[in-house]
């Protein structure tokens, strides 16, 4: 199975009942493959269905129609036990760094929680793994006894990343994982995510509304609009020659930090 896509989404539909009794198709017939070792970016505006799709892939919710295969296995056909075992290979990092950490637990407890849930290792082995993971996300070991309220946003997000890596997963879903962070911290976390991917051979599904960030991290990008995947393209292609008009609209709307730097980039040779 080593050469097939790691995640294969086929014709997934997920609808919700609206308050007035109608049906709202949050994800409307999406098919997409995520290559092993790739960072796949999913962009779109609020309500485009990108987070619902990711929740389907994480099996936090069941799709109404269609199938999602992980490593060649259809997640919909797995038994409860099989699914729980499979979950160790699929991890997630959410947007709100503090909401995704239980405020009553210490950093060590939080990072070790997935190990405990899968009964992996003895107490001392887990402690050692926590130390390794902290090192991996570049946090000092004194952090182990801290509570989430004592962490800054960036530190909390590093802890969430460490927890996601605890079971050595193949696949990590990053759902707006850097959106709530400050500019300077965001850059640190983006670099970290990139390093980790190279170091551990991870496959990412990176969900974001921020095209600049997606461009930095992902080599393949899908654009969602109203529940549909309107365009999937390689990074260079998407940013230089978008095919779908909506992609163009999105690109045009991204503000640039320095208009001069932008023009220097698009017309090479014109050094300002």
């Amino acid at each position: 199975m080593a050469d097939g896509p790691l995640v294969s989404v086929r014709d997934v539909v997920k609808s919700f009942r609206t308050r007035d009794g109608g049906q709202f198709r949050a994800v409307d017939g999406v098919s997409v493959d995520i290559r092993r070792g790739a960072a796949f970016g999913l962009v779109g505006e609020s309500g485009s269905g990108k987070s619902t799709l990711s929740r389907c892939i994480l099996r936090l919710t069941k799709p109404d129609e269609g199938s999602i295969c992980f490593d060649g296995r259809d997640m919909g056909t797995l038994s409860g036990g099989q699914l729980r075992r499979l979950r160790s290979q699929i991890q997630v990092v959410f947007q709100d760094p503090h909401g995704s950490l239980n405020r009553r637990k210490s950093v060590a407890e939080i990072i070790a929680a997935p190990l405990a849930a899968h009964r992996a290792g003895s107490r001392s082995q887990r402690a050692q793994r926590v130390a390794e993971l902290l090192d991996l996300v570049q946090l000092p070991t004194v952090m182990t006894s801290r509570r989430p309220s004592e962490l800054s946003g960036g530190q909390a997000q590093r802890v969430a990343i460490a927890r996601a890596l605890a079971l050595s997963p193949d696949f990590v879903v990053l759902d707006e994982a850097v959106s709530a962070l400050d500019v300077s911290i965001r850059a640190q976390i983006l670099n970290l995510l990139r390093d980790l991917q190279a170091q551990l051979g991870l496959t990412y599904l990176f969900i974001s509304h921020d095209l600049g960030v997606v461009r930095y991290l992902c080599e393949e990008i899908g654009v969602m609009q109203r529940g549909r995947l309107v365009e999937v393209a390689a990074r260079d292609e998407l940013f230089s020659a978008p095919k779908h008009p909506y992609t163009q609209v999105l690109l045009d709307a991204v503000p640039v930090v320095n208009p001069r730097r932008q023009s220097a980039l698009t017309t090479p040779g014109d050094a300002t």
Binding site: S46, L60, G99, A117, A180
Partner: protein, 295 residues
């Protein structure tokens, strides 16, 4: 570099910070409970020790609150009565806490039609007039301390269930719960080890409010003769007995009334106190001005 950064962030232990000086309400409540529980040590006479030569005695050094119609020491009766009142209260609150939490958490976790049925059930249960329900139950099972505790406990369960449901929904909506499901922790495990400790303050606060209701319920049921049966005594029983002598000896009825009032007041204040850490935390988070970036 990293060390310097660590040094810059103040180290606070949230567990330690939360324990301050206990509020007056909690201390007063503790005092009432201790006095009642230790009634045999505190009271000068047994609650049933009659002294027909001194009915309706005024307060003296020997009888701090005077005596009743057959010369029993009122203070002793008040404290011994408090024992029963508090016992019924504690038993019923514990029952409501356990049943209500299971009920509410189940409704929140299952969602959909299960939630619908469980919560409509709670609505219906809350709509039944309490005294009427008690009347029917007493008629069916007889009036005993146990049945009084059970009836009160059952009456309080729906409100506990509602509280448990709403805070569980709030808590399971947070990302740490989703992350837990995603890394393969079982639901039971997540609910018991991660969610329950977080919703405990809210549940405890509801329990304190319930305790106040339990005191009132016991008193009203005993007052109308459906609760504690003489010769056993409780605040409700004392209130009923004193009521007959309201004009001759107002302190007779007033004493249990004041005890009931004080206990309820303290319980409500404690409930307030218990519920506020969460609210305070939320306020602090809002004040910190975290950006909400929509997904």
């Amino acid at each position: 570099m990293a060390e310097a950064v660590i040094a810059a962030t103040p180290v606070r232990d949230p567990r330690r910070a939360r324990l301050g000086i206990p509020p007056v309400s909690a201390l007063l409540l503790l005092l009432i409970v201790v006095l009642c529980v230790c009634a045999p040590l505190v009271a000068s006479a047994g609650p049933d020790q009659i002294d027909p030569t001194h009915p309706f005695a005024a307060a003296t050094g020997q009888h701090w609150l005077g005596t009743d119609e057959v010369g029993r020491d009122l203070l002793s009766r008040l404290l011994y009565g408090g024992r029963l009142s508090l016992m019924v209260c504690a038993g019923s609150v514990a029952l409501a806490f356990v049943l209500g939490t299971v009920w509410g958490v189940a409704a929140a976790d299952r969602g959909g039609w299960v939630d619908e049925i469980l919560m409509r059930g709670a609505d219906i249960a809350m709509a039944i007039p309490q005294i009427l329900f008690a009347l029917v139950c007493v008629a069916a099972f007889g009036a005993s301390l146990l049945s009084l505790t059970l009836i009160t406990g059952i009456l309080l369960t729906p409100s506990s269930a509602r509280m448990a449901r709403s805070v569980t929904i709030q808590e399971t909506g947070l990302d740490y719960y989703s992350a837990g499901i995603a890394y393969g922790a079982g639901k039971i495990r997540l609910l018991s080890t991660e969610v329950l400790p977080n919703i405990f303050p809210a549940l405890a606060s509801q329990a304190a409010i319930n305790a106040a209701s339990a005191i009132i319920l016991e008193a009203s049921l005993s007052f109308v003769g459906l609760g504690v049966q003489p010769p056993q005594t409780s605040w409700g029983v004392l209130l009923q007995q004193g009521y007959g002598y309201l004009y001759n000896d107002p302190s007779y009825a007033l004493a249990p009334a004041i005890m009931i009032l004080l206990t309820i007041l303290c319980l409500n204040l404690v409930a307030n106190r218990l519920s506020s850490p969460g609210a305070r935390r939320a306020a602090r988070r809002a004040a910190r001005g975290g950006r909400t970036v929509r997904k």
